[in-house]
Structure formats: structure tokens, C-alpha cells
């Protein structure tokens, strides 16, 4: 497949820039295809993917491309993000880490969460990342909780090793109609997007109107619920969750907000190691939350790449193409790719390794008719 096979492209990049999507696509060739530039903060890449899937699902495109990239190294240091203008400058001087630290501090106040919990999540993800060749940060030793806690303090209680790296990267997903994929990749396992939900905030007291909003529980819960309902699955069906993890405390929140454990039980999941690779049990239906094998936390603002990678882009391009499919999910491994920070989520399904033929429709949950927020594939 080449660019000439692509009917439509969605380009994700977090920084504003007039016609940036078109300019980026020109580097790949000029074929006249429609190009849309997507910017949606940390959900940028995920939204590019969602739009590409919609383009195929609608029938207007047979092959759609979602491509996203980051140049975090150019953003670091504030060269491109100074005080901003107008109302933006009132909040723009605050380090992004602080927003997540505010969230972490309040949880510590409410639930008695310890920095050790955040450190345990970070250590888990560092060690997961060491097993993945695509990880931006590789360690040559087993990272411990003590090592994470002893690293440089960034914004209390978050240390440097609980934080994402600021780096560069890119990812691309090709979404195609099933017959296209079958014709070009016979015998290949397919990844099917089964639901996508995207929401913005609903008003609740305590909403902050200046600067980023971090951690409104309702937005994440509602988004997850919409995606679960449209996918016809529940948290107990999920084998792998890839969540936004700019900082380690986010993952702890998402255990609960995505329904992997009751509210207030997140710390227990950490303490029991239930969310580490191999830690899955009948009572904890989630596995690792390290995006595509990347280490520790990665920046919220690197949106596009991390969204794309965390939605399995690299793996998807390497191993499978994800065609549109209608109908209820079938037997196989369920994944949640989420940017709950911005209220975005995609669920995909890959056939179980051992049951490629076990694709009978799952009985059970009915889909909501006419869901306004969730894409029904």
C-alpha cells in the first residue's frame, strides 16, 4: 500500500499552525487527498484515529490514515510556550506537572494515598518499558520504588521518575475497510475498533475555567461508560488498558474511573501488583497500563504521538490493520486505549491468539441507540 491508496488523512499535532496538516502530508507526496489537522490536547492522536475510523465507517473512505507526531524537545524550556496572551497568560506560567500534582495531593488528602503508591506504579511501568524496544527510556536494572522516590522532586509529591520524558516521536495508523485488508493481507489477524467515545466536561462545582482542567471524575467515568456500552463489554472484559500517564498518579485514578476496581480500591490494586504484567486475576480484569510498552509516564502534552502509540499505533501498523466492522464484539482480547484526561477513548478488539476461529457474536449487552458521544462501529 502506498499513499496513493489512502483516501483521506487526519494529521495530529498539538501545536497550532496554519495548514500544518497539509504541509506535513506534502512531505509524503501530493495526491490531492483530503487532509484534516487535528488538535485536541492529549487526545490529539486518539481523535485523529477516531476520525479516520469514522471516515471508513461512513463509507466515504476505503482507506484512511491517522498520523500524529510530536516535537516535545522544541517545546521544552518554554521557548514556544511563554506566558501566552490574554487570559492564557494568567495560568501559562505554571508547570504542567503541577496540575497533576494538585490532583495527586488531593487524593493523598482524601484517601491517605502515599507517594509510595505513585512510585510503585512508576516502577512497574519503567520495568515494563525495559521489555519493549520502542520505549523511549530503557533501564539496565530493575527500577525500585525507592529509586523512584529518591529521584529529583518536580512538583510535590511527583518526582522526575514518576514523570514522562519530553521527547520526539511519530505514529501512524492505517484504517481500511475489511475487504481491502483481507485482499491485501490474507491470513493476517485483524484489529477492529469496536467503540470510540469522546466527551468534554460537564459543569460541576469546583470546575476551573482558567488553564487546563485535570481530573474531573465525571468526564472520565461518562466517557468510559459510553465506550463500554457501545462496545457491548464491561471493565471485566478488558485484558489490557493503555491510559494517559503523563504522571504516575493518573493511572491510579483511572483504575477506578475506568471501572477496574471500586472507588477507593486503587491503592489495593497497586499494593497487590494486580495491574502489573502477569498480575491479572479474576477479580482484577486489567493488565498493564504502560502505553505500547513505553516506560513510566509520558507527557500529557505530547498528545499526538503518545495518543497514537498508546492506542497501539505502532503495534497496529506492525501487526495488523484495523478495518471497520459492524455488529457486536466477538471473542477475543479487548483493549481500552484511553485519554481520560481529555475525555477520549477507543476500544479495540483483537482475536485471541488461541481462538482465531472463535468469532461468534457475544450475547448480552445491547447497544444504546443514537448515542451522541460514542461512535458505534
Amino acid at each position: 500500500m502506498t499513499l496513493s491508496d489512502v483516501d483521506e488523512a487526519f494529521v495530529g499535532y498539538i501545536q497550532p499552525g496554519s495548514l500544518l496538516g497539509v504541509r506535513a502530508m506534502k512531505e509524503l507526496g501530493l495526491t490531492g487527498l483530503p487532509v484534516t489537522h487535528v488538535e485536541n490536547a492529549s487526545a490529539t492522536g486518539l481523535v485523529a484515529f477516531r476520525e479516520a475510523a469514522w471516515a471508513v465507517a461512513s463509507g466515504r473512505a476505503r482507506v484512511a490514515m491517522a498520523i500524529a507526531f510530536d516535537k516535545m524537545t522544541e517545546m521544552a524550556g518554554g521557548g514556544g510556550r511563554s506566558r501566552g496572551t490574554g487570559r492564557d497568560q494568567l495560568d501559562a506560567t505554571i508547570l504542567p506537572a503541577a496540575y497533576f500534582a494538585l490532583w495527586a495531593q488531593r487524593r493523598m488528602h482524601d484517601r491517605g494515598t502515599k507517594p509510595e503508591h505513585f512510585a510503585a506504579i512508576a516502577a512497574k511501568n519503567w520495568n515494563h518499558g525495559a521489555r519493549c524496544p520502542w520505549s523511549d527510556r530503557q533501564t539496565d536494572h530493575v527500577v525500585t520504588v525507592d529509586e523512584v522516590l529518591a529521584s529529583r522532586m518536580v512538583s510535590e509529591p511527583l518526582t522526575a521518575m514518576m514523570a514522562c520524558p519530553a521527547d520526539d516521536g511519530a505514529a501512524c495508523v492505517i484504517v481500511a475497510a475489511e475487504d481491502v485488508v483481507r485482499a491485501r493481507q490474507p491470513g493476517r489477524r485483524l484489529v477492529r475498533p469496536v467503540a470510540s467515545a469522546l466527551r468534554s466536561e460537564t459543569y460541576s462545582p469546583g470546575h476551573t475555567f482558567l488553564g487546563p482542567v485535570v481530573g474531573p471524575a465525571t468526564m472520565t467515568r461518562d466517557t468510559a461508560a459510553a465506550a463500554y456500552e457501545d462496545a457491548g463489554i464491561g471493565p471485566e472484559d478488558v485484558d489490557l488498558a493503555l491510559c494517559h500517564d503523563a504522571f504516575a498518579n493518573e493511572e491510579l485514578e483511572y483504575y477506578e474511573l475506568l471501572g477496574f476496581c471500586p472507588e477507593g480500591d486503587g491503592e489495593r490494586l497497586v499494593e497487590t501488583g494486580a495491574t502489573a504484567l502477569g498480575g491479572r486475576s479474576r477479580s482484577t480484569p486489567t493488565a498493564a497500563s504502560s502505553p505500547a510498552g513505553t516506560p513510566a509516564a509520558r507527557p500529557a502534552s505530547r498528545s499526538s504521538t503518545r495518543s497514537c502509540t498508546s492506542c497501539g499505533a505502532r503495534r497496529a501498523t506492525a501487526r495488523s490493520r484495523g478495518p471497520h466492522r459492524a455488529g457486536p464484539p466477538r471473542g477475543g482480547r479487548q483493549r481500552v486505549h484511553g485519554e481520560p484526561f481529555r475525555g477520549g477513548g477507543v476500544m479495540t478488539e483483537a482475536p485471541a491468539l488461541s481462538s482465531r476461529s472463535s468469532s461468534s457474536p457475544r450475547p448480552g449487552r445491547s447497544r444504546r441507540p443514537g448515542s451522541p458521544s460514542a461512535a458505534r462501529w
Binding site: 524550556g77 511563554s82 490574554g86 487570559r87 504542567p96 500534582a101 494538585l102 510535590e156 469546583g206 482558567l210
Partner: protein, 128 residues
């Protein structure tokens, strides 16, 4: 020396240096919800025509952090470390000021009030 707000329309800067600034907010005439900063449409009930009100000046700390790196955007870095808090105003809005209290002022709950700081890029809070 005259005090000049970094941006007009968000807080008052009284002529008397001893007088504390007040945040400028909005109140919905239909449901009574308060907001900061000022807005026209009520975010809660969607009524139009929110009225200008002065908020605070005291509030209760909801959460806090202390940032151990210079103020974001290095060309503005005049401060090597700083606090950030979220403060619930008695009228309801939650605001997020930078503050120059030390890292040991931890814990949520104490009453905070507003003050201004020369050349400060954000409205600042100080424990009163």
C-alpha cells in the same frame, strides 16, 4: 509605584497599596451560580446575562503543590520554585493561583486571601 494588572478584567488593583485586590467574577441571575473569570453564559443553566461581582477575598485551600523548578517559560524565570494551589472561594468558584508560600505550608484547609505581587505574572495568594 503604580500597580498594573498583568491582564485587565480579572482582578482589581486598588490605588491604596494596603488594600487587597479582589477577583472579578460573575453571578448567574437565573440560578445564582458564581464563576471566575467573568462570563456571559451560565455554565450551569445556560442562562445569559451573568452579572459582574467581586469575589473573595478569602478562600479555602482545596489542594496544593510546590514546584521545584523555575517558573514555567524560562524567559520569565525570576523565581526558582513556587507553590500552586487551588482555592475554593466562598461564593463557589475554584481558582488556581501561584503562591509564594514555602514548601512547608502543606495541608488543605487554612484560609487564604489575595494579595498582589510586583511583576508577578499571575495573581498571587498569600496566607493571611
Amino acid at each position: 509605584m503604580a500597580r498594573v494588572p498583568v491582564e485587565d478584567g480579572y482582578f482589581t488593583v486598588p490605588d491604596d497599596p494596603a488594600e487587597r485586590p479582589r477577583l472579578l467574577g460573575s453571578r448567574c441571575p437565573a440560578c445564582g451560580e458564581h464563576f471566575f473569570p467573568r462570563r456571559h453564559v451560565c455554565a450551569r443553566c445556560l442562562a445569559e446575562g451573568c452579572e459582574d461581582v467581586l469575589l473573595g477575598p478569602r478562600g479555602r485551600l482545596w489542594t496544593w503543590t510546590y514546584v521545584h523548578v523555575p517558573l514555567f517559560a524560562k524567559k520569565d524565570a525570576r523565581i526558582d520554585a513556587y507553590g500552586v494551589g487551588q482555592v475554593d472561594l466562598p461564593e463557589g468558584p475554584r481558582v488556581r493561583p501561584s503562591c509564594w508560600a514555602g514548601p512547608t505550608t502543606s495541608g488543605s484547609g487554612p484560609s487564604w486571601s489575595w494579595t498582589s505581587r510586583p511583576s508577578a505574572p499571575t495573581p498571587t495568594a498569600a496566607r493571611s
